[in-house]
């Protein structure tokens, strides 16, 4: 049975030590994290920073929008070939406006979808938590597949100076 364990710290330095301790004890990166009530500078606890994929969403959205707009403008003009002002049927400068707008629109919509996806909210399984985190305490939380390494994790947290350890 998977368990979630949290060590509570009043100061940032011992919490950072606990993160180092868990890393050195061989716990898998990504299985432990730090919980704070306010954003600390990135990397302040030596935490694992997972690579986000947000940039892919606007890029793919823009490519899809551009492709669609190219098809839309070219197909409609070829379907209704009206010569306007002596310009060619496929007039690039007239097409550019629609292509730009549809590319931007798709990029924006994809970004909104991406940010919702990347936020991982709602977080239905909160795991171990403590209300004192909202009051400035720092939580180091570790998620374990089973109880086999729970004692090791508890030892690391205690050694770093956890004020309290809770399991959920």
């Amino acid at each position: 049975m998977s368990i979630s364990m949290i060590g509570l710290f009043q100061e940032a330095t011992p919490a950072a030590d606990a993160m180092d301790g868990l890393k050195n004890a061989g716990f898998e990166l990504g299985s432990f994290d730090v919980l704070t009530g306010t954003p600390y500078p990135e990397g302040a606890f030596g935490e694992h920073v997972p690579q986000h994929r947000l940039f892919r969403f606007p890029a793919f959205g823009a490519i899809i929008g551009f492709t669609l707009s190219l098809f839309l403008t070219a197909a409609t003009q070829l379907a209704y070939p009206l010569v306007t002002g002596g310009k060619p049927i496929l007039s690039i400068f007239a097409m550019l406006i629609i292509m730009y707008e549809l590319t931007m629109l798709s990029g924006v919509i994809a970004t909104v979808i991406g940010i919702i996806f990347e936020s991982r909210l709602p977080n239905l399984k909160m795991g171990a938590y403590d209300r004192r985190i909202t009051e400035g305490w720092i939580g180091v939380v570790i998620n374990l597949e089973d109880e086999s390494r729970a004692d090791d994790a508890e030892k690391v947290l205690n050694y770093a100076g956890a004020v309290e350890i809770k399991k959920a």
Binding site: D33, V34, L35, T36, G37, T38, P39, Y40, P41, E42, A44, F45, E47, V49, P50, H52, L54, V108, T111, V112, I115, E118, S119, R120, L121, P122, N123, L124, K125, M126, G127, Y129, R131, R132, I133, T134, E135, G136, V141
Partner: protein, 469 residues
């Protein structure tokens, strides 16, 4: 004899940096601001509620009596512009300085974002104008507008879509920054506020990746808000002012309206901060530095008003064509000259000479006075622009330029009640929001304390600010 420099007390003309406050105290203090309501708060809220209802009744009665005469709706159009400026302009403070990584802005962002909710009032007042605005084709002929070949009711549809989109984007900007505080409410509030916090926190626990995506969301919705706000200002000024006056073409008008909207928004935020600081006893969180920094911004925006007005004016002045002269007659030197002179005095001349003094910008009361003057000036400026535009009868819509300048239009009793009602509704919505969620962002004040420390610097005092991002 040697003249020695006069010894001064250094602290007498320098402000001491704010002291840091314990995180638990911040939570306790700010959660307490949402609990209960004082007797005076309830009386004011009830009074504003009654005024709001009266305003809506007056709007309906005006529609029943004058729905066939668009010239009587200029003050309502000016009111929409005024409300759009205040409620749309203030949230810009929640993203502009944040993106510039200004530390002083952290305690203000929540209050600035809350102004978005008052956009409901703007939409309510806009509704009758949508029915009064002429379609693109009038009497079988297409009138001059920005909508070439567009469907007949494009200005109406895009006008309301723009306003609703601004409201939604503003609320999204508010919510994206409020998630951590809903988690604080989940853990520290009681009763319905705790349940609301639990529901809206969406399982927020404050992991590193949650904080990272929070920053992304604020940046993204802030950018969207900026785009939508400019778009709405463009649509409203072109369709509901320039579009109803024959021959009125001004490329700078939208920018003028947008920038003066920021000016009004910042001024309204200063007044709201002054009230919150005083009435909620939040002096240890809303520091003089915030007023001082907003003062610089407000001063710059005040100077921009005259720059943009003059840039616009000079084109008509030197143009001297018939429609240029008619536009100046209508908007500046004609029937609304009283509004022009009073507006320019209050939105630019007086605040210029109030805010030019560092001592005033560095004082909380001085900033509040300067901001009140700007709000009055903004209202007069919007009256000048929209009352004069709507005073043109719709029979003139196909003229090449305005050949007959209408007379001065004064507000009727409905206009006065609608104005008081809609402004009351806006204030009421902001007041009620302060009882739902802490008026200052808890996590941002904790971040403010985390990243800044008051230090002794040689013989003086300073704040050491970390800028890690």
């Amino acid at each position: 004899m040697v003249n020695l420099p006069k010894k001064e007390n250094h602290d007498s003309h320098h402000t001491l940096p704010p002291e840091n406050v314990e995180s638990s105290v911040i939570v306790e203090d700010l959660i307490a601001t949402t609990n209960g309501a004082s007797k005076s708060f309830k009386i004011i809220a009830i009074g504003l509620g009654i005024m709001s209802v009266l305003g809506i009744i007056a709007l309906v009665l005006k529609w029943i009596n004058y729905s066939d005469d668009s010239t009587r709706w200029g003050y309502v159009a000016a009111l929409v512009s005024f409300l759009l400026s205040i409620t749309g302009g203030a949230p810009m403070v929640a993203m502009g300085p944040v993106m510039a990584k200004a530390n002083w802005v952290r305690p203000l962002t929540r209050l600035a974002a809350i102004f978005s909710f008052a956009g409901v009032s703007t939409i309510i007042v806009l509704i009758p104008l949508l029915f009064l605005l002429p379609p693109l084709v009038v009497d079988g002929t297409r009138r001059r507008s920005i909508w070439f070949e567009a469907p007949n009711y494009s200005p109406h549809i895009w006008g309301i879509i723009g306003m609703v989109l601004l409201l939604i984007t503003g609320i999204a900007l508010f919510y994206s920054a409020a998630l951590p505080d809903f988690a604080v409410m989940r853990e520290n509030s009681t009763g319905w506020r705790q349940k609301l916090g639990k529901k809206l926190a969406r399982g927020w626990v404050g992991t590193d990746s949650q904080w990272r995506t929070l920053r992304m969301r604020i940046g993204m919705f802030g950018t969207f808000y900026f785009f939508v706000m400019v778009m709405v200002n463009f649509l409203y000024t072109t369709d509901f002012a320039q579009g109803v006056v024959p021959g009125y073409r001004d490329a700078i008008y939208t920018l003028y309206h947008t920038v003066s909207s920021w000016q009004g928004g910042v001024a309204a935020l200063v007044i709201a901060l002054w009230i919150v600081r005083r009435n909620m006893k939040l002096e240890k969180y809303i520091h003089l530095d915030a007023f001082w920094s907003l003062g610089r911004l407000l001063f710059a925006l005040t100077l921009l008003w005259i720059y943009l007005f003059y840039s616009s004016f000079i084109v008509f002045w030197y143009g001297r064509s018939e429609n240029d002269k008619a536009t100046l007659d209508l908007l500046v030197r004609g029937p609304m000259i009283w509004a022009f002179l009073a507006g320019a005095t209050f939105i630019w001349l007086v605040p210029w000479w109030i805010l030019i003094w560092n001592r005033v910008r560095k004082s909380i009361n001085g900033m509040a006075i300067g901001s009140c003057v700007i709000i009055i000036g903004l209202l007069l400026d919007r009256i000048r622009l929209f009352v004069s535009a709507w005073s043109v009868p719709q029979e003139f819509i196909h003229q090449k330029w305005l050949k007959q300048i209408p007379g001065t239009i004064y507000p009727d009793i409905f206009d006065v009640i609608i104005a008081l009602g809609s402004i009351s509704l806006s204030i009421l919505m902001i007041m009620l929001m302060t009882k739902i969620i802490p008026v200052l962002s808890i996590w941002q004040i904790q971040e403010f304390n985390l990243l800044s420390k008051p230090i002794k610097f040689i013989k003086g005092h300073a704040t050491l600010i970390a800028k890690p991002d």
